[in-house]
Amino acid sequence: MATETLPVYTKKDFQTDQEIRWCPGCGDYAILSAVQSVFAELGVRRENFVFISGIGCSSRFPYYMNTFGFHTIHGRAPAIATGLKVSRPELDVWVVTGDGDSLSIGGNHTIHMLRRNVGLKVLLFNNRIYGLTKGQYSPTSEIGKKTKSTPFGTTDRPFNPISLAIGAEATFVARSVDVFQQHLKETLKKASAHKGSAYIEILQNCNIFNDGAWEDLTEKDARSEHIIQLEHGRPLIFGKNKDKGIRMNGLDLEVVQLGNGITEKDLLVHDEAHPRPAYAFLLAHMEERPGFPTPIGVIRSWENFTPYEDLINSQIREVQEKRGKGDLEKLLRAGDTWEVRA
């Protein structure tokens, strides 16, 4: 099989005959389309792709991808995918989940998958709301938000998914946006190239229950002022006229205006492989501060950790090399035995 030449795929090859059941205008459509076209280019045989999802609008995703797909139960996709990936490391396993599925009920499986660095690519559709259950707040909803379950506003401080993932020792963390097709495709490719867990937060619009949640990041004109695209090895520059930059100041970051003395050389140059955990953490939190942009792109990419499934399987190989493959006969007769004669 491996030797067979890879078929040439097009986006169409990854579409299914299933009627898509998202609301018209839902951000999920854009993500689906990006994934379908990227998958045609990844050089992986279609039968080796698997999508595992939990429950939620986002988790309907596998039905629309013409790959192997498993729409499981709420919050458990990372655990199910771990069992699959560990026992079938050759498969290319992707997880699709939502802010409720991954960060509310599934929070524990998510952080454990990340610390173990299981070779799974996780697409977190963050619409800051429970869509499928019709509009309750989620762990990423802003505090004070009025929703079906909080008519007087929430009292919960939200998670910052990137911050949580980094706190859980994630080796690859990125962020993109449903409507930034090009950027999203690039990000998906980088994630797929990563060895180990890749956690990708995709800012997604739920036009029914949380419309415009991300609009100051996506609106044509606001966009360039409120978003900064991280690129490995390039200085942190943003702004409509690319005239703003971010500079280190002690342990702190500051936004600076380029010009009169301040040049690109003064700016922080993005290093997605930065060895210090705090580096990515610093970037993850900058959006919370007035005047700072929201970073998108690859925030951290650590390649020097062997994926969990490889560690497990090489341990098995080592033992088998040392002891030889297990012999059932021997196993049953191990230890003290005695014979009863007729």
Binding site: H71, G83, V86, L328
Partner: protein, 619 residues
């Protein structure tokens, strides 16, 4: 019956059918090791036997206190043995706490060996005793041997130059040596074990050997012991035997199943007493390619196993009651997506955290009904420690053949209890055929095999079989999401039929004893031993009593209804409040009565005898 002979030294040696010995002491006194050594020795000698370890819920409660007491009972005989024994012939109590907790089970005039050096005031206070039983005549009804175990052991090891702490750790071997003398057993096997165990610490090899030897010689020398016993070998069916506990048997059974099916075994588990040992054992079998995944919780444990099964491995998860409760939602998913999966519940005392180290049978209804909506799952239960091996293979066979999750209900007693087990000839192990779907032509994920109603096992990586499954209701055949009323009813009934049909694939219920008549006793799980033992009693020889032991709880054997009708009365002893009896009454409308013991301990043969007499007497 017993025959007595006089030996050279003028000592009596009595030949007995059977004997029950119990070692008890502080958790730090190594009673579990002592017990297992004695067990192996009598086993190697050819006795039939059963053991009952009993350890505290605490890791190590303060030395000398009541909660810290640990015990190990061995019932060995020249006859068939079905239980660890109701009462003990010889009790070795290393401290007052152990004495207090165990003396009630010693037979009148039974042998009682205590460590005199551990009966100081402080020791007594730790055991919450106000007077010293060794002096207050409360033990007059027994053959008391107060031995200065500590002192004698120290004396024996004086020249080794070991610190007292290490020396005192050897006193259990001194006691073991005494018991070997008492039952005329060779110390060879234990010597070999000591050599292997401490191979890295020659000094300890020395120490433990000498301690045991000293104990043996002590009995030889002192006049105290005027009599010793001999229990001749049992007539076991020919073959090679080993001792096996239920958890070990389960672990080996799954390895065997994996080999026979030619599929990798994936265990997703989260530690919990008394199931953890299965994880420990399977984790050691890497040479068999076994993958053990210690998950973050029970939900991840079962779901990871589902993921592995989806990928074509044997998905296994092991737990006990509280963990089982956490897995139920995921089990429902396995039912809906129809993937093979095996779930082992090693039952313990409950409710909630309950009595973690004690045994119970109260998860049957949870296993049968503890899921949202209609989610039928086959349920199997092993009868003895050795049977766990066969149940593991059978559960795997059913799971794969019918594409269905299967539950195994073991319990704390089976898990830790041991019995001699005849090692099967692996060429005679059952086959476990596996067929992965390969053919993409007109592939339908929910098109069923007309015989088994199983859907195809179409694993990722198979060209042309790309498809989607999930927990939403599915259209018959295509497997597409579908909410149509009649399709739903059809699917619910298909899932039920598939499980029901397994009744065609399992043995009929064949009563042991009378095939019809006065009384039928129905049992499941670990109660089979004491019931079998009780039914051997002379008392019942003029009654027509049958015994059906159920290894399959769902579906039940197809002829069970007929069998039940053939007896005037039906009695169902269970270590719960009456779970199987409820299922039988509902299904067969038979006026079966329950006999329920829920004390964290197996039934005693005597308890069952009494109950059976009662029931027979009822009008």
């Amino acid at each position: 019956m017993a025959t007595t002979t006089i030996n050279a030294a003028g000592r009596k040696r009595e030949v007995l059918d059977t004997a029950v010995i119990r070692f008890c002491g502080d958790s730090g006194d190594g009673m579990q090791i002592t017990g297992s050594q004695f067990t192996n020795t009598v086993a190697l000698y050819g006795n039939d036997l059963a053991t009952l370890p009993d350890f505290p819920a605490e890791i190590r409660a303060p030395a000398g206190t009541l909660p810290g007491v640990s015990g190990f009972q061995v019932h060995f005989s020249s006859q068939d043995v079905f239980t660890p024994g109701d009462t003990v012939d010889a009790l070795i109590a290393m401290n007052p706490a152990a004495l207090k907790m165990n003396i009630a089970d010693l037979k009148p005039n039974g042998i009682l060996i205590v460590n005199l050096n551990d009966f100081g005031d402080l020791d007594l206070r730790k055991a919450q005793m106000t007077s010293n039983p060794i002096e207050d005549h409360s033990l007059d009804g027994y053959r008391l041997f107060s031995v200065e175990l500590t002192k004698l052991t120290r004396a024996a090891l004086r020249d080794l130059g070991l610190d007292n702490k290490s020396v005192d750790r050897c006193k259990n071997f001194f006691a073991l040596g005494m018991c070997y003398w008492l039952y005329n057993r060779s110390m060879e096997n234990t010597f070999r074990w000591i050599d292997a165990k401490f191979s890295k610490k020659p000094q300890l090899v020395q120490a433990n050997r000498m301690a045991m030897q000293a104990g043996y010689s002590y009995c030889e020398a002192t006049e105290a012991f005027q009599i010793s016993y001999e229990i001749p070998p049992a007539k076991l069916s020919p073959g090679v035997y080993r001792n096996i506990s239920g958890n070990t048997a389960l672990a080996m059974g799954f390895v065997a199943a994996s080999q026979k099916a030619g599929l990798p075994l994936f265990l997703g588990s989260y530690p919990i007493t008394p199931a953890s040992d299965i994880l420990h054992e399977l984790a050691a079998y890497k040479d068999f390619g076994v993958i053990t995944f210690q998950a973050e919780d029970e939900i991840a444990a079962v779901t990871s196993a589902i993921g592995a099964a989806y990928g074509g491995a044997i998905g296994l998860t092991t737990t006990s009651g509280p963990g089982m409760a956490l897995k139920t939602e995921a089990m429902g998913l396995a039912v809906a997506v129809e993937l093979p999966l095996v779930i082992c519940d090693i039952q313990r005392g409950g409710p909630s955290t309950g009595l973690p180290t004690k045994t119970e049978q109260a998860d049957l209804l949870q296993a049968l009904y503890g899921r949202n909506s209609e989610a039928p799952i086959p349920v199997l239960a092993p009868a003895t420690p050795g049977d766990c091996f066969w149940i593991a293979m059978e559960a795997t066979r059913i799971a794969i053949k019918y594409m269905v999750p299967v539950i195994i209900l073991s319990d704390g007693y089976l898990a830790n209890g041991a019995e001699p087990w005849k090692i099967p000839d692996i060429s005679q192990l059952p086959e476990i055929p596996v067929k992965f779907e390969k053919n993409p032509v007109d592939f339908k994920p929910y098109r069923r095999d007309p015989q088994t109603l199983a859907r195809p096992w179409a694993v990722p990586g198979t060209p042309g079989l790309e498809h989607r499954i999930g927990g939403l209701e599915k259209q018959d055949v295509t497997g597409n999401v579908n909410y149509e009323p009649l399709n739903h009813e059809r699917m619910v009934r298909l899932r039920a039929q598939k499980v029901e049909a397994i009744a065609q694939d399992i043995p009929d219920a064949v009563p042991v004893g009378a095939d019809s008549g006065d009384l039928l006793i129905v049992s499941w799980g670990s109660t089979s031993g004491p019931i079998t033992a009780a039914l051997r009693s002379e008392k019942f020889k003029d009654h027509k009593i049958g015994h059906v032991h159920l290894r399959y709880l769902n579906p039940l054997p197809k002829n069970l209804g007929d069998v039940l009708m053939r007896y005037d009365k039906v009695l169902v002893p269970e270590m719960n409040m009456g779970q199987l009896v409820m299922v039988l009454r509902a299904k067969y409308l038979v006026d079966a009565q329950g006999y329920n013991k829920i004390q964290g301990k197996p039934f005693k043969t005597s308890e069952l005898e009494r109950k059976i007499e009662q029931v027979l007497a009822q009008e």
